[in-house]
C-alpha cells in the first residue's frame, strides 16, 4: 500500500458521484469525494443551507428518500467527503497514479491549493445550462431556469413574483412547478419544441414507464397551479429598463424560426430560461478523454460498458456522459464503482447486479437520446437575434460583431470567431456563449469543451509553494 494515496477520487457529489463513492466505499475502497459545494447532493439534491433550518427540505424535491439512502451509504463506507474543493485539473503522475488539483473555499478563494492522489478517478461533475441569447437576455431578472431552481433549493429565494419559465427541455417543467409551489406566480411555460417529438421514439417511451409517470406528475402540477404550457414558442425578447417587465413570446416554425407577427407580450418581473444542459467535461477532455456528440449537439464523454473513458484509469458517470437525469446518474455511478473495484483487484459484487444495472442504463440512455432529439435547438433560432443583442455576456460581444467576423473577416468556426471578437474569452470561458457562437459561425459543431483550468485560479494559487496533499486517507482504516 502506498501511503497518502486513495484508491479512488470522485469529482462531484451529485447523484452520480454519491452513488459511485458510496458503492466504492462499501466494496472496501478508500475514497475521497470532492465537490465545490459544501454539502453533497449536486444539482438534483441541492438542499437549503443548514443555517436556514428547513424542517421540510424534501418539499422542493421528488425522490428525497433516494437521497437519504445515498447519504447513509456514504456514511457507512470509507468515504472522505471534501466539500468546498474546486477541482481545476487532473493529472497523471510519474508513478501512474492520478493527482487531482483543487482550490478550497466557498468560491475557491481561500488560499492554498491542494492535491489529492488516487489510483483511479471518477468524473461526475454534472452539467450546466445551455443558453441561447435573445434581445434583452442581459436584463436584471432574467436568470437561468436551473439557476432559479438552484437559488430556490439552496437559498429559499425567488427571482421575482411573476416568473415566466422558457426555453426547452424537461427541466423547465420541474422548475415551473417548484417556483409555483414556493409561491411565485408562473403565468406560462414556453417550450420551443413540441412534446409530440417524443412520439417519434415509441420504443424509448414504452420501456421507460417511470419517465412517462414523471411527465404526468409535472403536467398535473402545471394544471394545479394553472400554468399555461405553450409549445413551439419562444421568448424572443425581454423588455424593461431597470429590470425585466415583460417578455415577447413568438411562435416558432419547425426549424425554430420565429413566425413574423406572432409575438404576444406577457407581463412578468422575472424570466427563468434555459435550453437544455451541457455536460461539464473539461477535466476529461484536458486529459485526452474521447467524446461523442449527443442528439442535441453537445459533447459528452465517450464511455465504455464499465463507464471507463478512453483514458485508462479515468471513469465517468452521470451527466458527463450525456444528460439523462438523476436516476441514470445513480445507476452509472454504481456501475463505475464496481468496474473500478474490479480493476483494483477487489470483489466488484454480484455479477447479476451489474447485468441488471447495465440493462437499466441502456433503457434510460435510449430515453435520454430521444429526449435530446426532441428538444434539440432548431437552426432557425438565430432569427430572433438582433445585431445589437449581446451574445458573449462576459466580453459584451454582440451578434452583429460575430456576424461581421463571419461575413467580412471570413471566420468559419467558433475558434476563429473567438480570436477575432473575444467572444468566449471571458471569465466563463465560453460556457454561456459557446452554443450561440458555434451556431453563428455556422460550423455545425458542438462547442469545444477544452479549458485547461476547469475553475479560475489566482496567479498566487498557481505559483503557490507547490500543492500540499489535502488529506491523506487515515491509516487507522487500513
Amino acid at each position: 500500500m502506498v501511503t497518502g494515496v486513495f484508491d479512488l477520487v470522485v469529482v462531484g457529489a451529485g447523484p452520480a458521484g454519491l452513488a459511485g463513492a458510496g458503492t466504492a466505499g462499501e466494496l472496501g475502497l478508500r475514497v475521497a469525494l470532492l465537490d465545490m459545494a459544501e454539502h453533497v447532493g449536486g444539482q438534483f439534491y441541492r438542499q437549503p443551507a443548514a443555517g436556514l433550518g428547513a424542517a421540510r427540505p424534501e418539499a422542493l424535491h421528488h425522490d428525497w428518500d433516494a437521497f437519504v439512502a445515498l447519504r447513509k451509504r456514504l456514511a457507512a463506507g470509507r468515504v472522505e467527503h471534501l466539500g468546498r474543493h474546486h477541482v481545476w485539473a487532473v493529472e497523471r503522475g510519474a508513478d501512474g497514479d492520478w493527482a487531482v488539483h483543487a482550490v478550497v473555499g466557498d468560491d475557491g478563494g481561500d488560499g492554498r491549493p491542494v492535491r489529492v492522489r488516487a489510483r483511479a478517478v471518477l468524473l461526475a461533475a454534472g452539467a450546466y445550462e445551455r443558453q441561447l441569447p435573445f434581445p434583452g437576455w442581459t436584463l436584471p431578472g432574467v436568470v437561468g431556469a436551473g439557476g432559479a431552481q438552484a437559488m430556490l433549493k439552496g437559498g429559499l429565494v425567488l427571482p421575482g413574483k411573476r416568473v415566466v419559465v422558457a426555453g426547452s427541455g424537461p427541466l423547465l417543467l420541474a422548475v415551473a412547478s417548484s417556483l409555483a409551489s414556493a409561491g411565485a406566480e408562473v403565468p406560462a411555460v414556453i417550450e420551443a419544441s413540441g412534446y409530440l417529438g417524443y412520439a417519434r421514439h415509441p420504443r424509448a417511451l414504452a420501456v421507460n414507464p417511470r419517465k412517462l409517470a414523471e411527465g404526468l406528475t409535472h403536467g398535473a402540477a402545471l394544471l394545479r397551479h394553472r400554468i399555461a404550457l405553450r409549445t413551439r414558442s419562444a421568448v424572443t425578447e425581454a423588455h424593461g429598463s431597470e429590470r425585466v417587465e415583460a417578455v415577447t413570446v413568438s411562435r416558432l416554425d419547425a426549424r425554430w424560426r420565429p413566425v413574423p407577427g406572432s409575438g404576444r407580450r406577457i407581463a412578468c418581473d422575472a424570466l427563468a430560461v434555459g435550453h437544455g444542459l451541457v455536460p461539464g467535461i473539461e477535466l476529461g477532455t484536458t486529459l485526452g478523454c474521447g467524446t461523442r456528440t449527443t442528439a442535441d449537439n453537445t459533447l459528452a464523454l465517450h464511455l465504455g460498458s464499465g463507464q471507463e473513458t478512453s483514458v485508462r484509469g479515468v471513469w465517468g458517470a452521470g451527466e458527463v456522459g450525456g444528460v439523462a437525469g438523476a436516476q441514470l446518474a445513480c445507476i452509472e455511478g454504481e456501475l463505475a464503482a464496481r468496474s473500478i473495484a474490479a480493476r483494483l483487484g477487489r470483489d466488484p459484487g454480484p455479477e447479476g447486479r451489474v447485468r441488471q444495472l447495465s440493462s437499466r442504463r441502456t433503457r434510460l440512455r435510449t430515453f435520454a437520446e430521444a429526449m435530446a432529439a426532441t428538444h434539440a435547438p432548431g437552426p432557425g433560432w438565430t432569427g430572433w437575434l438582433c445585431d445589437d443583442t449581446e451574445v458573449c455576456r462576459c466580453e459584451e460581444v454582440t451578434a452583429g460583431r460575430v456576424r461581421e467576423a463571419v461575413a467580412d473577416q471570413g471566420a468559419r468556426d467558433a475558434r476563429t470567431v473567438k480570436l477575432f471578437t473575444r467572444a468566449g474569452m471571458g471569465w466563463c470561458q465560453g460556457r454561456m456563449c459557446g452554443a450561440a457562437v458555434s451556431c453563428l459561425a455556422g460550423d455545425g459543431q458542438p462547442p469545444a469543451q477544452r479549458r485547461p483550468l476547469a475553475v479560475p485560479l489566482t496567479l498566487g494559487a498557481l505559483a503557490g509553494q507547490g500543492p500540499e496533499d489535502a488529506s491523506e486517507p487515515s491509516q487507522s482504516q487500513t
Binding site: 444539482q43 436556514l52 418539499a59 436568470v143 437559498g155 425567488l158 459584451e396
Partner: protein, 104 residues
C-alpha cells in the same frame, strides 16, 4: 398552499444579522449566499459591466457564468452565488473588473 419558499420548506432560520450593501443596511440569514441575501432584500444587481456599464447579478446560479461577481469586504471578483454571507459583511457593487477595489 405556501406563499413563500421558507414556508414551503418549513424554515426556522437562525437569528438574522445585518450586512451592508453599498453602505445601506440589509438583513441576512445565516447560511444564505450573498446572492440569496440580496435577492431576499429585493436587490437583483451588484455589478456593472466593463464595456457598457450595465447592471448584472445572478444568471446561472451555480458558479459557472461569473455574472454575479461582487466585492465583499474589499475583495473583488467573488462569486455571490457561492460565497456565504457573514454578520457585518460589506458588500459593494463591483464596477468593471473591480480592480480598483483590490488591495494589491
Amino acid at each position: 398552499m405556501a406563499r413563500t419558499p421558507g414556508e414551503l420548506a418549513g424554515a426556522r432560520p437562525g437569528p438574522a444579522f445585518e450586512i451592508t450593501v453599498d453602505g445601506r443596511a440589509v438583513s441576512a440569514l445565516p447560511g444564505q449566499t450573498v446572492a440569496a441575501a440580496l435577492w431576499a432584500a429585493g436587490v437583483l444587481t451588484w455589478r456593472t459591466t466593463r464595456g457598457g456599464g450595465r447592471p448584472r447579478g445572478v444568471f446561472c446560479g451555480i458558479g459557472q457564468c461569473f455574472d454575479c461577481l461582487v466585492t465583499v469586504n474589499g475583495v473583488a471578483n467573488r462569486r455571490a452565488c457561492l460565497v456565504a454571507v457573514g454578520p457585518g459583511d460589506e458588500v459593494r457593487t463591483q464596477e468593471g473588473e473591480g480592480r480598483g477595489e483590490l488591495a494589491v
